[in-house]
């Protein structure tokens, strides 16, 4: 676990009630629209934003995000442009870079993750989620994150047993990404029992738990938070809106408005679930 402590912006984002953590693929469908979309999410109430840096082989993603990655790559997104994008962004929430390890490893003149982390820190990234980097391979990236004061968010899967949990928590900081069900990213209509199990297993872990995979509505966000999540991560449901806008040639502002309103729904759902979880004593402070 990172020593970043109280000054950690990710920890801070989870401090005041449930956090809403949206994801978008950066550069989808183009640089300028993507800027507007990320800013719309912030407007809609995002507490942390996961910015996807597109990799050509996104093995952990479902079709929705795969297609977004293809659109972004075809529009010219690269690691260098990604950092420019982050620098250009006008938002006031912590940003997490979500990408695959090869892009992190290749960046800069020397091999290894350090140059990428250094550059990310310099443009204001607060942490990383790297879906193809299990705890066993995370040493070098963890080290670089520590050097530059960034968080490394680990994913806990439904298959992660007690034995692995310890190893995993040891390299994690910021928050824990709780994978709600098996499979790949993608919107779905119900929240799995396994989410509850996973949250239970993580009870003793002293990091915020954000649940992702399959959350697409305010009601689902509420259910998840009610079940004990400290935050909800939503990707495909938002990327769907971007894709629809792109396919129907909707003006960027209109798509951004829809994103903002979806974000609001999700954030409110999270709050609603939180409310259900901590029953207010009847009749107080009317």
């Amino acid at each position: 676990m990172s020593d970043a402590g109280g000054s950690d912006p990710l920890a801070a984002a989870f401090a005041d009630g449930p956090a809403f953590v949206p994801y978008l693929a950066v550069g989808d469908p183009d640089y300028e629209s993507s800027l507007a979309y990320v800013e719309a999410l912030a407007e809609g109430g995002a507490d942390v934003i996961e910015l996807g840096l597109p990799f050509s082989e996104p093995i952990a993603e479902g079709p929705t995000i795969q297609n977004a990655v293809v659109r972004a790559l075809e529009a010219g997104m690269t690691p260098t442009r990604f950092f420019e994008f982050v620098a250009d962004l006008d938002v006031d929430v912590p940003l997490v870079c979500m990408t695959y390890y090869n892009l992190i490893y290749q960046f800069g003149s020397e091999q290894g993750p350090r140059p990428f982390v250094e550059r990310a820190a310099s443009v204001g990234i607060s942490g990383f989620v790297v879906p193809d980097l299990p705890a066993e391979e995370a040493g070098a990236l963890r080290e670089a994150c520590d050097e530059f004061g960034l968080d490394l968010v680990s994913i806990v899967a439904p298959t992660t047993g007690e034995d692995r949990l310890e190893k995993l928590v040891a390299v994690s900081s910021g928050y824990i990404y709780v994978q709600a069900r098996l499979g790949v990213t993608g919107a779905s209509s119900s929240v799995s029992d396994r989410t509850t199990e996973s949250l239970a297993r993580l009870e003793g872990v002293d990091l915020p738990k954000a649940v992702g995979f399959g959350i697409s509505s305010g009601e689902q966000a509420a259910t998840v938070v009610e079940a004990g999540a400290d935050g909800v991560i939503v990707g495909s449901a938002l990327v769907d809106i971007v894709a629809e806008g792109h396919e129907s040639n909707e003006p960027t502002e209109a798509t951004a408005d829809r994103l903002e309103s979806k974000a609001r729904e999700l954030k409110e759902g999270a709050l609603e679930g939180y409310g259900r979880r901590t029953p207010t004593p009847e009749g107080t402070s009317d």
Binding site: S56, I59, F107, V156, R164
Partner: protein, 409 residues
Amino acid sequence: GKFGRYGGQYVPEALMPAIEELTDAYERYVLNNEDGFVDEFRRRIRDFGGRPTPLQRADRLSERYDTEVYLKREDLLHGGAHKLNNALGQVLLATYMGKERIIAETGAGQHGTATAMAAAHLDMPCEVYMGERDINRQRPNVFRMKINGSAVTPVTTGRGTLKEAISETMRDWATNVEDTHYVIGSVVGPHPFPKMVRDFQALISEEAREQVVDRTGGLPDSVVACAGGGSNTMGSFHHFVDDESVELLAVEAGGSSLAVDETEGVAPNSASLSTGTEGVLHGARTKLLQDGDGQIVESHSVSSGLDYAGVGPELAHLVDEDRVTPVNVDDDAAIEGFHRLSQEEGIIPALETAHAFGYLHEHHDELGDVTVINVSGRGDKDLDTAIEETAKRDVSNAPDMSMFNGGLR
């Protein structure tokens, strides 16, 4: 799980428990013959697969090149290629592990057909992912899989080739990991796959070493095998690695050029050992065809079985250690090698295999007195491609194919 700086387990956390379970099964069954696994594997690969395959002296090539050329005849294995060694081993291991379902990816269709055969033989449900473009180029192989009772699922993402099929199979695995085993088709992927697949394929060199010593009274001067992912390569090399006098040559697909077109994201070759750079793909750190940012580029080869942007991490390591020499020949030389072996020895090789014979032709004087070449597969699956690709170029040793101008039908 490492070979020097290469290898590792770069996979989503959701798969790690399965990888750990597989590692444990690999150690118990494959390495320690628990429950007689290895005995059953050897019995089945003999009776069902047709092992041992012969080591044949190539009379006419030996004469032509003034070198004793021996052919390790993996083309005679059931299904027509070395692929069954691994597929049968893994499907059998899945039954020992109590798995209820098999998935696999396939490019040219050879690994898919081998897995489908092994799954039918061992009564295991099987689903094979295959890029849509590859399906259209390899329809007979698709039919073979279906006729063996496997489901074949087209992968429509990206350009619809092997790379996308692997990613899609990993997604299936991530979803169904608890009851499903993913039969990776080469010495690639996360540990323990590169070691385990190598061990299953190492029957090739175990036999070949004994056969060549029997036949010639000593070790060969060189062993030559084509290299895509590298499973026939490592299988052919493994038992010779400690024989320092034996040169090991991995022949990659030079395609039409060794240069990478960064703008288009295309490498017109599949020579990751010769030209690739270190990176992480599909679960392992290895040599890759990638651009400066780390995006994987589209590889190319006239042989779809070599058409892959990565390579087994152990091969990458052996190349760095100077134990394996990476070489390559281009599409033209491979097509000529295809015709040469067919006409002179009566063996129609797979286009993958043809690369090894392209290399033999160009460098026979560097291979010493005795060389062993792995005939990794037969060319029946490649007839249509061979017609097409021969028609495109001026191939000095091709037969008149005018009657085939319309293809095979």
